[in-house]
C-alpha cells in the first residue's frame, strides 16, 4: 500500500543528502503518515484529507526553509575571494543579459520605432518578455565562464551560482508560461489598434494545455496538423525554461577544470549555446514531421547538454585527481629532510 509522502520521499532521496533525509524529510513524512493513518482508522474522512493537505504543505515549507537556511549557511562561510568571484560573475552576467535583451528586443521593435508612435515606450516593454528567455541563459553562460573561469572557484561559489541558475529558470518559466504570451498579445493589439484572436504564441501555458486535452475544441478551428505545433509549443516552453540551469551547469562544469585563460572556455560556451539552438531547431523539424514525439524534441537540447556537462565534469575530476596526486607527490618531495631527498 502506498502511504502519503512515499512518492515525495523517493524523489527527495534522489536529490537530498543522507543527513537531510534523516533530519528533515523522514521525520516530517513519518509524522504525516502516522497522523493520516490515525485519522483513517478513526473513520474521519475529512480529517484525513485535511491532514494530507496540511502535511504536504508543511513538508514543502520545511524544504523551502531548509533550502534558505542552507543558502544562508553558505553565504556565512564566503571568503573575500568567493565574494570577488561572485561579484565578477553576477556583474558580467547582468551586463550581458542587459545588452542581449536590448539587442533582441530592438530587432522587432525598430520597425515600429520609425513610425514615431506615441506608444513606442509601451511597445518596447511588451517585447522584453520575449527576449529574456534567450538573453538570460546566454548571459549566465558567459557570465559564469568569465566570473568563475581563470581561477580555481570554490565549491561554495559554484553552489551559489547554480542556485542563481535555478532561480533564473523559475523566472524564465514564468516569462514563457504567462508573461510573454500576454505581452505578445498586448503588442499585437496595440499595433493593429483593434482586437485580434490569439495565435499559438499568445496562448498562456494553461490555455495551451487545455487545447491539448483529448476532445478539447479549438475556438480558432486550426487544422489537425496544427495540433503537433501546439504540443511542441507547450513542451518547448517547459524545456526552454530549463535552459538557464542546463547552460549554467555546463559553464560551471567547464570552469571546474583547471585552465589557463578564458578564450577556450569562451569558445566552448559559444559552441554550447549555438549547439543548443541548432538541436532545438532540428528537433522541432523532426517533431513536426512526427518522426519524434513533441516532448522528446522539446527536451532534446537540455538532455544533450546535460550529458555533455556530466562528461566534461567527469573528465575534469579525473584530471584534477591526477593533478592532486602529482601535487601530493611534489609536496612529499619538498617536505622531506634534505638528507632523504638527496638520497644521502
Amino acid at each position: 500500500m502506498r502511504r502519503p509522502g512515499d512518492r515525495l520521499r523517493t524523489i527527495a532521496a534522489r536529490v537530498c543528502r543522507a543527513r537531510t533525509m534523516e533530519r528533515l524529510i523522514d521525520p516530517a513524512l513519518a509524522d504525516l503518515q502516522v497522523e493520516y493513518e490515525n485519522a483513517v482508522l478513526r473513520g474521519r474522512k475529512w480529517e484525513s484529507r485535511w491532514v494530507w493537505i496540511s502535511g504536504h504543505l508543511a513538508f514543502f515549507q520545511a524544504v523551502v526553509v531548509h533550502g534558505g537556511a542552507r543558502t544562508i549557511g553558505i553565504l556565512d562561510e564566503l571568503t573575500d575571494e568567493d565574494r570577488r568571484t561572485l561579484i565578477r560573475t553576477s556583474g558580467s552576467s547582468a551586463a550581458i543579459i542587459a545588452i542581449g535583451t536590448v539587442v533582441l528586443a530592438a530587432v522587432p521593435f525598430l520597425r515600429f520605432l520609425t513610425r514615431s508612435d506615441p506608444n513606442a515606450a509601451r511597445l518596447a516593454l511588451y517585447v522584453i518578455p520575449q527576449a529574456l528567455p534567450i538573453s538570460v541563459p546566454v548571459g549566465l553562460t558567459f557570465g559564469i565562464l568569465w566570473g568563475l573561469g581563470g581561477a580555481a572557484a570554490s565549491r561554495r561559489s559554484r553552489t551559489l551560482v547554480l542556485i542563481a541558475a535555478v532561480t533564473s529558470s523559475v523566472a524564465s518559466f514564468t516569462m514563457l508560461a504567462w508573461v510573454a504570451p500576454v505581452a505578445n498579445q498586448a503588442f499585437r493589439v496595440s499595433v493593429a489598434r483593434h482586437s485580434l484572436a490569439k495565435g499559438t504564441n499568445e496562448l498562456t501555458l494553461g490555455e495551451l494545455g487545455r487545447l491539448l486535452e483529448p476532445g478539447a475544441r479549438d475556438p480558432m478551428t486550426r487544422p489537425a496538423s496544427h495540433s503537433r505545433g501546439l504540443a511542441l509549443n507547450y513542451h518547448t516552453r517547459w524545456a526552454l525554461a530549463g535552459a538557464p540551469l542546463v547552460l549554467s551547469f555546463f559553464a560551471v562544469a567547464l570552469t571546474s577544470r583547471r585552465q589557463r585563460g578564458r578564450l577556450m572556455p569562451g569558445l566552448a560556451g559559444f559552441a554550447a549555446i549555438f549547439g543548443y539552438y541548432v538541436i532545438m531547431s532540428e528537433a522541432r523539424g523532426f517533431a513536426l514531421d512526427r518522426t519524434v514525439p513533441a516532448f522528446a524534441a522539446a527536451w532534446a537540447p537540455n538532455a544533450a547538454l546535460l550529458i555533455l556537462s556530466v562528461a566534461v565534469m567527469r573528465a575534469g575530476s579525473g584530471r584534477s585527481g591526477l593533478e592532486r596526486a602529482g601535487d601530493a607527490h611534489l609536496a612529499r618531495t619538498h617536505t622531506m629532510p634534505p638528507d632523504q631527498s638527496t638520497g644521502t
Partner: protein, 104 residues
C-alpha cells in the same frame, strides 16, 4: 579561509522554547512539540529548528519503533542533551537576573 560558525553557542527564542518543552521530562516527536507549544512552533519549520539544534548539540534524537502494520516510516524522538539543559538553565537564569519581571 571560512569564518568560524557564529551560531554555535547561541540560542534562538524557538530553540529555547523547544528546550523548555523537552526539559519538562520526556522525549517528544516533532508534531508533539508543535502541539505542546500551542501554536508557537510551526509544523513546517519545526524539523529545521530541531535539525539545527541537533547540529549544535543541544538535543539528541533516536528513531522510534516502526509503526505497527509495517511499511510506514519510523518516527524520530527528541530529548535534550546535557549541553542543551545547561544552555537552557544559563539562559533562563541570565534573563531572570537581567529582567527580574520575568522571574515572577
Amino acid at each position: 579561509m571560512p569564518k568560524p560558525h557564529p551560531r554555535v553557542l547561541t540560542v534562538s527564542p524557538k530553540e529555547l522554547l523547544v528546550l523548555e518543552l523537552l526539559v519538562r521530562g520526556r522525549e517528544l516527536y516533532g508534531l508533539q512539540l508543535v502541539t505542546a507549544s500551542k501554536g508557537r512552533l510551526k509544523r513546517g519549520t519545526v524539523y529545521v529548528t530541531l535539525g539545527r539544534m541537533e547540529e549544535k548539540g543541544y538535543i539528541a534524537s533516536k528513531l522510534d519503533d516502526p509503526p505497527p502494520g509495517a511499511g510506514g516510516l519510523p518516527r524520530r524522538l527528541y530529548a535534550p542533551t546535557a549541553l542543551g539543559r545547561r544552555m537552557r538553565n544559563a539562559w533562563t537564569s541570565g534573563v531572570k537576573r537581567l529582567v527580574p519581571e520575568f522571574a515572577r
